[in-house]
């Protein structure tokens, strides 16, 4: 089996609390713009440093019900745009969970997500559904990701997944030479 192209990921931890909602991730006033502009304001009323200082490969940790609220998928797309490799939370809102994988942003449900300190170096392993806290050496177990979502995230999300599927269908319908 080939390794997922995005993972394992290693980066710094950004740590947030419970109920981090979509209106904080993708504020309504900027929703008329493209993703780059929305991303500049991602979480600005929670941590004004986040959008400017988050680096590709960093990992977001949070408490319960991450992504509560709207179905606006820009709330997941902004984190991917900013280079966040994975979100690890105690739980996700249902729509956000689907949106994350659809947009190619891996999500891990982890009961111990709150034990990671801000800035700690961490590594996520999607295949084994676990998170390594490289600062403490602890390994945090996460809930396994459903197989069909693992397949989709390997393709980079639902759009490239569909692209691949349609290409295969079209190839199958080509007349044999």
């Amino acid at each position: 089996m080939s390794a997922p192209h995005t993972l394992p990921a290693t980066g710094r931890a950004w740590v947030f609390g419970d109920d981090l909602n979509t209106d904080l991730l993708a504020p309504g006033a900027y929703m008329k713009f493209g993703i780059a502009e929305i991303a500049r304001h991602c979480l600005e009323s929670v941590d004004p440093r986040f959008a400017a200082e988050v680096r590709p490969g960093d990992i977001v940790f949070a408490g319960r019900n991450f992504g509560a609220g709207s179905s606006r998928e820009q709330a997941a797309e902004v984190l991917r745009h900013l280079g966040v490799a994975c979100v690890v939370a105690r739980s996700f809102s249902g729509i956000y969970y689907r949106n994350g994988f659809n947009l190619g942003l891996p999500l891990l449900v982890c009961p111990e997500a709150a034990t990671v300190a801000p800035g700690a170096p961490v590594a996520c392993d999607l295949d084994r559904a676990r998170v390594h806290n490289l600062a403490t050496g602890r390994v945090l177990a996460c809930e396994p990701i459903p197989a069909h979502l693992v397949a989709m995230i390997r393709d980079g999300g639902l759009l490239p997944h569909l692209e691949k599927r349609l290409a295969a269908q079209r190839a199958a319908h080509l007349p044999t030479p």
């Binding site: 729509i95 949106n99 659809n102």
Partner: protein
């Protein structure tokens, strides 16, 4: 035991309404909570913000067409009326796309999608539907399985006509007795959000049941199902009955089957909560969460400078009538603005015809266009930093309706109207006698 015997016993086992709806869409006799199935979609609803503007570029990239344009509905509600070049462009994409995609069911500036879709007679019991908006569970009030998805997920539906689903468990919320005068569906939902939290629904199906729910009007049931989103469930169902059938018949959706669409006695429930409707007092949620509810009387005295009657959950005809009941012969307090944004054009016209709108304006209300307005936080009428508002909307998240400094309380249309008159949070029952 043979396979045939197993499937026969599974098919005849008691099922929840949610199981029956999902099984029908999955084309099987029986589904088990927790299993992953693929469902055929009967109706896909999009609005201007998450709809054509987002899906068109992806459809173009795939070179794909909509699987069945007759099963698609597009409603403009987030960026109407357009207030600048950006919003104009977004709405224009929707107008152009429906033409090129062959989508005939397009409703431009006629109101909020969750209210317009049933009013056009597009929903009926037994259907399986998705909406590109988190308040899509509203469709559950009609005995349809309907839930919200993001735009890329919608793309998948538009291309394949299908969507995957983890078969939900059911949490039943049974309300015995009758609501007291001045207490509404909104109070029930603020109470439930506070009791169970914004993730209390566990992304399963909630079913509202019991005599107090059966006694609710169709639009009040829509408020229950709508705010299932705030409860964190996937769907919020009410078993259809004569109230549903009569309402749908008036909306032009006849031929409604009621026989099968209910939870069987003995069906498996993840939770079965029972509440006494008569004991519920008007509820108000404090900033910044619908789960911060308390009895309105406990917050009486909190001064407000804005009262907002708007949104799919709080400005339907029944909601406007509630506000008018309080405001008849009264005036909005000095220093308070009362804004009213009717949830649909049809509701606005009916409210006008029966004098409800006149009563609101007479009391000092300013009428805003029928659209999502300040509720979505997208439009021109968002709230400034000095605003302390009480609102009939569904969400009072920090910054959602404008400035992060604005403080927003949530209440029923009765409570919001009474608070507008008092200039402070008020229990409406004293003004309804």
């Amino acid at each position: 035991m043979s396979t045939a015997a197993v499937s026969l016993s599974a098919a005849s086992a008691p099922q929840t309404l949610a199981q029956k709806l999902v099984a029908r869409a999955a084309g099987v006799g029986h589904v088990t909570p927790g299993e992953i199935v693929t469902c055929r979609v009967d109706l896909a609803m999009m609005h201007d913000s998450g709809g054509p503007r987002r899906v068109k570029p992806m459809l173009d990239r795939l070179g794909a067409k909509v699987w069945d344009p007759d099963k698609v509905v597009v409603v403009t509600d987030h960026y109407v009326p357009a207030y600048d070049d950006d919003s104009r462009a977004i709405v224009q994409i929707a107008r152009d796309w429906v033409k090129s995609a062959g989508v005939a069911r397009f409703h431009d500036g006629e109101g909020i999608c969750h209210v317009v879709v049933p009013q056009k007679g597009y929903l009926r019991p037994g259907m399986f539907a998705v909406g590109g908006d988190s308040h899509s569970p509203t469709g559950g009030a009609f005995g349809a399985y309907m839930f919200g998805v993001g735009a890329t997920e919608m793309l998948g539906v538009l291309v394949t006509g299908e969507i995957w689903l983890k078969v939900p468990h059911t949490l039943r919320m049974a309300w015995n007795g009758r609501l007291a005068p001045g207490v509404s569906a909104k109070d029930m939902m603020l109470f439930l959000c506070t009791r169970f939290g914004m993730d209390g629904g566990q992304y399963q199906a909630v079913e509202y049941a019991g005599p107090a729910v059966q006694a609710l009007s169709m639009q009040e049931r829509m408020t229950l199902s709508n705010m299932t989103a705030e409860l964190g469930a996937q769907a919020g169902l009410v078993a259809p009955d004569e109230v549903t059938r009569d309402w749908l018949a008036r909306a032009g959706a006849g031929d409604v089957d009621l026989a099968n669409w209910h939870t069987d006695e003995g069906a498996p429930l993840l939770a079965d909560h029972v509440f006494d409707a008569a004991a519920l007092a008007p509820q108000v949620a404090e900033p910044h969460s619908p789960a911060h509810g308390r009895d309105a009387a406990d917050l009486a005295g909190v001064a407000i400078n804005l009262a907002y009657v708007g949104a799919c959950t709080g400005a339907k005809l029944d909601d406007l009538r509630m506000a008018a009941q309080v405001l008849r012969g009264r005036k909005v307090a000095a220093g308070v603005r009362l804004l009213v944004a009717p949830a649909s054009l049809q509701d606005q016209q009916r409210a006008e015809a029966e004098g409800v709108l006149g009563t609101l304006v007479e009391a000092g209300a300013e009428l805003l266009p029928t659209s999502c307005g300040a509720c979505a936080g997208y439009g021109a009428h968002t709230f400034g930093p000095d605003v302390v508002a009480i609102s009939t909307t569904a969400r009072n998240f920090k910054g959602r309706m404008g400035s992060a400094q604005a403080r927003i309380y949530l209440g029923s249309p009765w409570t919001v109207a009474a608070s507008a008159v008092a200039g402070r949070v008020a229990d409406p029952r004293e003004m309804l006698q």
